[in-house]
Symmetry: D2
Subunit: 289 residues, 4 copies
């Protein structure tokens, strides 16, 4: 297929490369153009408008503001040539997803939401878990592209915003796992057991899953650079989860604790580190290290 | 070995049966005597004193109060015949573990802490993860017994209380996982995605581990009886974790949230249900179901 | 002075009436026009544009959205005739206050922020506490108007947004006081002491202040209608406080607890009741009443 | 009356002095004897047993452990000469109060609980607010003594433990007020408004009450020594409030936040400072100061 790709951050580059590797033609655009260069089979284009065309376009931008600026304020939906399908893969608010669904419907451009789970190395391996929602026929049409980027596509019905709610709920669970490890390690450290030893037990028994193993290793080694998932973006995701929850009348006390901890982490200079640096907050509060 | 076993609840029965199956001679005592009967190779005895003797004694009681009553207030450490080793496997407070270590040292009875991770079915399969701390030579001596009950023994050094701190930290992580699933499901339900569908994704991808799969299934099916891990005992463990943390100067905001949620669950009649019923609190707060 | 007044809710009506009573000429506009009628000395006008003129205009609208719609999106700053001073008295976000300061500066319309503390009965009595920030000369010029509406004007410097931050921090303290009373009453009720008796002691000794006496009386009588301060608006203020805090890198765990409680109150149908109905959440969680 | 007084800390000394000043004969005992000396009309005695006699005895000790050690474990209730009435004025757990009521009933020594609100300077002025519960005739009999120590006695019925629940609930409200001021100040400081200026407004308007004025002044001046109410004792009171709440099935999320903050304060070396030093936690978390 002839695919446009907008947003060539670390995740986007890996995903676009996998599309090209699977034989699709990829036109890629990024705000800072160098990020769109140097990938086999991926042609950099000079404007988002050029990318927003063809059989399908994938957007993988950092946040609501970027997506609004490029797509909505940028007027891409009003240009004469438009893509056959827009696959929105960014982690964005449920509110923006709802707005996007509406403006695409008005403009006659088919739209599905398809955010992903997986860090950049998982994206490179083409093993993302993709959370898709929108008209079933559209998700079918996107199938070859999604298959090139992910291990599996999980479907959540016709309303695109549901995929975004699922993504935010999942990221909330992920950050909760980090906080739980962090508090538990502070407890065991306070009783003379190294967090690393405690996590070795936990992540090989009850919690032998990718999230615990991955972030647990960072915490155990007290190593938060280079970042896989940037802490500030995690703070954004918690904010979006809290907003989505408030919109649905759902209190989320764990998310509130995460919010406070992430703000504290940022105020102490860890905003650009890996999300696992949230663990430093628990240690600091306990007067450890 | 000639082993006494004190505390024949569901966990204790399974563990004692595995000791007998491995060829050890087991004398078992339980406060309500019927629980000690009917196991091949396990001989019920009439008093805790008769069980507290032989090569080793294992205690597996419900809480601090039971252990204090039977062992300390019961005067077992002062009787003429005493065991060659006391393996304390109950989930108890760090404070009581410290006291037990001291009174055993005074009485000249070797003592190690060896609490376990695993629900009754895991105990029956002899696949517990055992968290041991105490003198290395004593843990070595307990080896054949521990191997009969567990899949693996994890060692945490010479001070027995460390094993208890690790156990409480682990149970805290476990209950945190339930709360995270509960809040996340309330969020997705609020946006039209069934919690069961959301958890199917999560527990087969990022959170493909025993705790998430097990408790996630209960939450997905909204089925909390019969209980595997009784909610009230989970509330007790969070209380013990908070006490242990306070003793070490460690704030634990997640544990505080769990404490509030578990109290609310008990006040709404779910104290005897499975721990996963904590999820009902999130749903009720959101006015769902 | 010749004053326009935009926003004739219960607070606005009381304030406009006091302006008229002090001898000022008042042109008043409200979205639903009947609310602007029936006050001596207050002339209803047909459009916000007619009100946005004269020596000064006061805005007292319900939230950010109303203010943005009427003032910014409504284009009032671009019309030929504009007021000599805009006194923004609504409780709005720090972010919108900042934006308002900027667009007024660009349009050449002097602007100060002057939100108020006090419920409608206090507004009627002309006894509001007014929190003002902006150029000192402008606050001086607004003096006769502010004096007609309030007991005292408290100044917080040149930057208008500071008044809004102060207002949000104050409302946060107020709602925190309600939550503290609510939890304390749940505790004493749990031990057989009626909340009303407990609050009688507290609000006549250590907490003998208007907030505790006023909201305490509502809680003691379990009477939340008619509302003085609508719970949903309180939830909005907590949200704005959390946003303002996040913008400044400040964690606010109490505010997070309030957020969760207020969402729960709304999900249980108390959103239109008085803010003191937050106390029902504590009672419900404890399985009381 | 002939009164024994046990526990001559700063509060106890002031109260005993007021009893003497009112014409009562006072025998005083303190663990470190020098604290019982040097007050007109107060005779130091060499043992708690000598003080535990006469028409009435007042106990004013630091915590549960002190009271248990001196009264229960000390065997005072078994000695031949015993007081006509025991007025327990310490801030203790509801559980210990219940036990005390039981053991006094068994020993035939009349007992009432009468904890107090007020810092040492209030005690010196004889202006404490006294929270009394127990048989009405006993409180009547204690009247002349209570009147000498307090401004007013508030009665909460026949069950002595109710007074202790009320005292804990009150101290919870007090510490909540400090936390609310602390977070609010961190918010305003984050937007350029000095906490002192903000508190000047608040404590002279909506929160013009002793607690806010007193602790607010400490926070405004960032001055936490010498302590009026020692932070570590405040942490103990929150712990007791949480225990009493848990016993009654009451979640207290604000108290949980206080617990975490106070532990953090202690871990950072502020345990012996004034309770208002809790405000330093909010500032530190925000990276301020």
């Amino acid at each position: 297929m002839d695919v446009g790709f907008i947003g060539m951050g670390r995740m986007g580059r890996a995903m676009a490369a996998n599309l090209a590797r699977a034989g699709h033609t990829v036109r890629a655009w990024n705000r800072s153009p160098e990020a769109a260069r140097g990938l086999d089979g991926v042609t950099p284009v000079a404007s988002a408008a050029e990318a927003f065309a063809g059989d399908a376009v994938v957007t993988m931008l950092a946040d609501d503001a970027a997506l609004e600026t490029v797509i909505v304020a940028g007027g891409l939906l009003d240009q004469p040539e438009r893509p056959g399908l827009h696959i929105g893969m960014s982690t964005i608010s449920v509110a923006l997803a709802k707005q996007l669904a509406a403006v695409h419907a008005r403009a006659g451009v088919p739209y599905i939401s398809a955010p992903v789970f997986g860090r950049p190395d998982v994206a490179e391996a083409g093993k993302l878990n993709i959370v898709a929602a929108g008209a079933a026929a559209l998700i079918d049409r996107a199938g070859p592209l999604l298959d090139a980027m992910g291990a599996k596509t999980w479907r959540f019905g016709d309303d695109p915003t549901r995929a975004n709610a699922v993504k935010l709920a999942g990221n909330f669970m992920l950050i909760s796992a980090i906080e739980a490890m962090a508090e538990a390690c502070a407890l065991t450290e306070g009783h003379g057991v190294a967090g690393a030893d405690f996590l070795d037990l936990m992540t090989n028994t009850l919690f032998a899953s990718p999230v615990y193993k991955g972030y647990g290793a960072s915490i155990a080694q007290n190593r938060y650079e280079p970042p896989g998932f940037i802490l500030k973006l995690g703070a954004k995701d918690v904010r979006l989860a809290l907003q989505a929850a408030e919109g649905a009348g759902v209190p989320m006390p764990f998310a509130s604790v995460l919010r406070d901890g992430l703000i504290e982490a940022i105020s102490h200079g860890d905003g650009e580190k890996d999300l696992a640096a949230l663990a430093r907050v628990s240690a600091r509060r306990a007067g450890q290290g």
